[in-house]
């Protein structure tokens, strides 16, 4: 399984982007990540989740999960983030740790 993650916008306007080879992660982390994807019902989410009033300086996210047999991309505004998806986004944006 692969995850492609991008975050743009925000006050700083600094783009965050990474690809994660989930299969290469230690088993415990892999299982946690798979639970987060499951809890988000990621493959059932709409392609685009846009805010009607996005305000200003908010983040936009693009997340692609490719599990081999299934591949899905979600574009979501921070202002319209489903709470079920937020834990996965928090995981993907948590401070960088060197592998």
């Amino acid at each position: 399984m692969n995850i492609h993650f991008e975050r743009s916008g925000g006050f700083a306007g600094i783009r965050l982007k990474h690809d994660i080879d989930v299969d290469a992660l230690p088993e415990k982390i892999r299982e946690e990540l798979q639970k987060l994807i499951g809890a988000a019902a990621f493959f059932q989410l709409p392609d685009s989740i846009k805010a009607t009033n996005p305000g200003a300086d908010r983040f936009q996210y693009q997340i692609t999960v490719d599990s081999g047999d299934r591949k899905h991309t979600v574009n979501v505004d921070d202002a319209a983030m489903p709470e079920t998806l937020r834990p996965l986004v928090r995981w993907l944006t948590s401070p960088a740790q060197n592998r």
Partner: protein, 387 residues
């Protein structure tokens, strides 16, 4: 619009090995959409404050909430106007800096709060977990704690607070659409007045100011002095983790991108730099003349889809109205826009003289796109939105 996707400053992959917080998050996993939660919560809180609606004009009314590392807004009320300080520095900063911004708008432009009618200034701190952002959600200011690896807390800088509050002022006036050039103008207005709040607070003239936005927000380990520089866009940071500050200073480096609502935080470097050049050329306190010209332009002249050319045209025209045609101030505005590659309509530097406030028709202004319209000029009666 712009389909090309140029990114010359990609952050090296943030590779993650720790999953620290998933257990506590899972309990929230079955919640419904955040937006619905937020609006429900807000209505309840707002109704509790309806009694404050009659506070006399010209008084600050600040309320600070603690979002307690969740994403439901506004959170728990922790400090109202006149309440004593708490031990929470983020609360203190949000309170003090939103107050300084209120005072700035009142003292510099006689503006009573965001809407000009004494609107209460609501701020929520400790939004989400390790959240690397501050934003305006359409009604209030919201601040994250920062990840404490790259970013410090977002209440730390007065100009960041001034930036967020100015998004409210823009929403209440020109309502600049948050994409493309109008979005970059929206961003630039927030940087301009955010910087001016700090300059007034510090008692700095244009040549004494650092013209940085978010100085101190990046932790010392990061190679950078700030998030943006109005004096020298593109030089605020250059770091292996963050990449390089991507801001252009002139139209020749305008970045076409679909990212960030069309690069609103990137191309804002161009009008930011124009303001800097104007303020330096005029001299003295930047909020007095250059700031006044920009303020009148924002609140009375720009329309929601205004582009950079419209801002150049309007500021030039406003400078003529305020300080006289061919005044040093008006010439400074023309020179400033020329310095970033734009020629205000009606200025001597342009190829064709366009009647003020009317850039329609087939006039071609050298090297620039045709302007989006500005509001009809001069003595037109000020028309404000009454929500």
């Amino acid at each position: 619009m712009n389909r090309r996707f140029h990114v010359c400053w990609v952050i090296p992959p943030h590779i993650l090995t720790k999953l620290a917080e998933s257990d506590e998050h899972r309990e929230h996993a079955l919640r419904t959409l955040a937006l619905g939660e937020r609006f429900r919560g807000r209505r309840e809180v707002r109704s509790a404050f309806e009694g404050l609606a009659g506070v006399p004009a010209g008084e600050k009314r600040r309320t600070i909430y603690n979002a307690q590392n969740q994403t439901t807004l506004p959170g728990t009320l922790v400090r109202g106007e006149g309440d004593p300080a708490t031990s929470d520095i983020a609360v203190t900063e949000a309170y003090d800096f939103s107050g300084a911004t209120y005072d700035f708008y009142m003292n510099a432009y006689n503006r009573n709060s965001i809407d000009g009618r004494g609107m209460r200034l609501d701020s929520s701190v400790h939004y989400d977990q390790s959240f690397d952002n501050a934003f305006w959600d359409g009604r209030q200011m919201v601040y994250g704690d920062g990840d404490q690896t790259i970013f410090d807390r977002f209440t730390k800088c007065l100009d960041v607070v001034g930036h967020e509050l100015t998004h409210g002022v823009t929403a209440a006036t020109a309502a600049l659409e948050y994409h493309g050039q109008s979005g970059a103008l929206n961003e630039s207005m927030s940087d301009v007045f955010g910087s001016l709040v700090r300059q007034m607070q510090s008692g700095q003239t244009a040549d004494q100011a650092d013209w940085l936005i978010g100085a101190g927000l990046l932790l010392p380990v990061i190679h950078g002095v700030a998030i943006r520089s109005m004096k020298a866009p593109g030089t605020a940071y250059n770091d292996p983790q963050l990449g390089r500050d991507p801001q252009p200073a002139t139209m020749s480096d305008y970045l076409n991108t679909s990212d960030d609502n069309g690069g609103v935080h990137i191309n804002s470097g161009i009008p930011n730099h124009a303001f800097y050049l104007a303020a330096i050329a005029i001299g003295g306190n930047a909020w007095e003349k250059a700031g006044k010209i920009w303020y009148v332009t924002l609140t009375q002249r720009l329309v929601p889809n205004a582009d950079f050319q419209a801002a150049a045209d309007a500021t030039f025209d406003v400078a003529g109205n305020l300080y006289g045609p061919n005044s040093p101030e008006q010439k400074a505005i023309a020179d400033a826009w020329n310095g970033v590659g734009l020629t205000p309509a009606g200025s001597t530097g342009s190829q064709v003289t366009v009647p003020s406030g009317d850039a329609s028709g087939d006039t071609a202004v050298a090297s620039t796109k045709k302007s989006k319209t500005t509001k009809p000029s001069k003595k037109q009666k000020k028309k404000k939105k009454r929500p």
